[in-house]
Subunit: 405 residues, 2 copies
């Protein structure tokens, strides 16, 4: 008998009828002879409804109590799904984080799972029950409720799969699997049968919202195959797994676009050691995540630095930079929100030369100006004007022949 962890996202449990649909699927899996653990998110829209209430009672609703609030979303879903399974004649039992001792650190709203006690779940499974677990939440060592950040239920599912030594971990969502790019941008986008953990990690952190980055890291660390499937059909989906020879043959696995960053340029900085540190340290101290940084070659002892931050943090970042400006004696500070980061990802880049050249040539031929470039072993990202993003993705998808069988 194999043990399967299935995770259903917010749209898959978005209303009572969909919850009953999930109940049916879960029962079918059990009937095939598997032990089933189901991890669920809040019903779609629920987390936003709760956060909206929070902003009506407090200007800045963060920290411990915000987590107490949003954790109710998943609690509602586990109860409803358990009731639905029972209604269909199955046996189900729901579990909250404190009941399973899903221990995390104390970083409210972005906690990380440290350990899970699997005793109760194994007990329930051995009694023939389906275990229905609230995703997204944990408790810290003091017993406070914590949450794992947006998309955290994916991580809950993988962490449970690890703790339970599950044979399979299946992430059910509203898309059929992982695509070469977003099909809404590029109709030629093709579903991938397989993708490596590393590629998926890049895709996830670059703005492909299929999986939470942390869940992929965890799956990679423990070598758990991660299936991404649709909860609305019976298609095979995509498996995220260890890199193999086949994957290396494909140069580019996927293309992502990220419209949620903004660019800040600081002009005419003295090109001296320590200047960059004095610019970026206070930004880091304010928990603002700087993504790309470009510093151009110094001329006459001065240089320009350009970097990107999440749009949501732009205002705060600008305030900090303006404050530092006087201390470090820089020139003008400029900001631009109308940018897009376009990235191509593929483990094949390791063994194939000329991928960057091909990317730049394709964009140049269409008159698309590249503002920033950043590369890693298996990805190349460029920043371009936002209005050209869709066109760029379509052209690159074509250039790297991702639509072909």
């Amino acid at each position: 008998m194999s043990l399967v962890v299935q995770k259903y996202g917010g749209t898959s449990v978005g209303d009572p009828e969909r919850i009953r649909n999930v109940a049916r699927r879960v029962l079918e899996t059990q009937k095939k002879g598997h032990q089933v653990v189901v991890v669920v998110s809040a019903m779609s829209g629920e987390t936003n409804r709760l956060l909206d209430l929070a902003t009506k009672v407090a200007q800045n609703p963060v920290g411990r109590e915000s987590d107490v609030l949003v954790a109710t979303g998943e609690q509602v879903t586990i109860a409803l799904l358990s009731l639905a399974i029972q209604d269909m004649g199955g046996e189900a039992i729901s579990f909250l984080a404190h009941q399973l001792h899903i221990l995390t650190d104390s970083s409210f709203m972005k906690a990380r799972i440290k350990s899970i006690d699997s005793t109760l779940i194994h007990q329930s499974l051995n009694q023939g029950k389906i275990a229905v677990v609230a995703g997204f939440q944990g408790i810290d060592p003091e017993g406070n409720i914590t949450t794992l950040g947006r998309g955290g239920s994916d991580t809950s599912a993988v962490a449970l799969a690890v703790a339970l030594k599950a044979d399979d971990c299946e992430i059910y969502t509203d898309v059929d699997g992982v695509y070469t790019t977003d099909p809404r941008i590029c109709p030629e986008a093709k579903k991938l049968d397989k993708i490596s953990y590393e590629e998926m990690l890049e895709m996830a952190s670059l703005g492909s919202k299929v999986l939470q980055t942390r869940s992929v890291e965890l799956a990679a660390k423990y070598k758990i195959p991660l299936w991404v499937k649709s909860s609305f059909n019976q298609e095979e989906g995509t498996v995220v797994t260890q890199e193999d020879k086949d994957m290396e043959k494909v140069v580019v696995a996927g293309i992502t676009q990220d419209l949620n960053e903004a660019k800040i340029s600081v002009r005419h900085l003295a090109d001296q050691p320590g200047i960059a540190a004095r610019l970026f340290q206070p930004i880091a101290e304010n928990n603002i995540n700087v993504d790309m940084i470009v510093q151009n070659v110094s001329e006459d002892g001065f240089t320009d630095i350009t970097f990107t931050v999440p749009k949501l943090d732009l205002k705060k970042a600008l305030e900090i930079v303006q404050r530092q400006k006087n201390q470090i004696g820089s020139g003008k500070v400029e900001a631009d929100e109308k940018i897009a980061k376009i990235s191509i990802v593929g483990v094949g880049m390791r063994s194939h030369a000329g991928v960057a050249g091909q990317m730049f040539k394709t964009l140049a031929a269409a008159g698309i100006n590249i503002q920033m470039i950043s590369t890693s072993e298996i990805k190349i990202s460029v920043v371009i004007e936002q209005s050209l993003a869709k066109k760029a993705v379509q052209l690159l998808h074509q250039a790297f022949e991702l639509g072909k069988e």
Copy 2:
């Protein structure tokens, strides 16, 4: 420094603005030099919204998972209230049942509190924090979430007041206090300054919805004065407390009506020992609460039995009686849902004769026929036709001069 437990019901926390209003009141109480523990219910309408979702996924959503579901209502409120208090510059910390070890038995949907660990609350209060506790919920010895039944937050508040050895327990609601009768039925209804535990118990169990019966029992057992006040103004309210000499001077403290019962009559029963047991035992076994029972004097070896059950259980009760009918050989079985139970309550009845007579005379003079009568030491209940209920309450209120200063 005194310790006060304040409980705010669903309408008092019904929307974000009202939650901020409660935050302000709580902070004012703290500023006066008190330690404050706040117990809250779910926002009004929330429990029904959740139960409505439950009936959409399952035909009979009861038991453990139903409690997991509805317990989220109070969790949302404690988080929002804590955020609101923090937003106003105060310090607050929320607590769920499992964090305070509010231990109950395992009767889902109607659990009873056995013990509370007050350590964490005392710690928080000593740090200058306001403790915000989710009412209505507990955990059983296995760590399952339980709930205390409708109105259970009142009981949570009193149980906390007992565990914390609080100086005061204040129940804030949408009315100014306990009235001689429902002001919507009888505009002359007068607010009582004081009422005894016993009278309040009768009033509560007879359909006055101000307090949950169990909370009054608990307050009486530990002699905790219970204040009923409005969360929308600064009026004195009503205190539920031990009986004193003043109270005995008042013959009737209040009048209640209950429209939620139905009547079943079983005709022509053999007047033999054991017949009543064979009729009522299967009803009790099905957890149906029989309230009044009247058996008239036997003639020619046969008798009629009439009893009342909650309207919600009428269908089930009738099925049981029909089944028993053949076994015990009774005559016709009749049901009537169009009844009202009108009760007068007062500790003064103990020392005043003629109260029942006055009640019957008043109803008779208005041509209101009494179908059933039941009495206790401090109350008299009659069943009459439902359409005459309002008139009966108004006439009795006048007859016992309850509207007078």
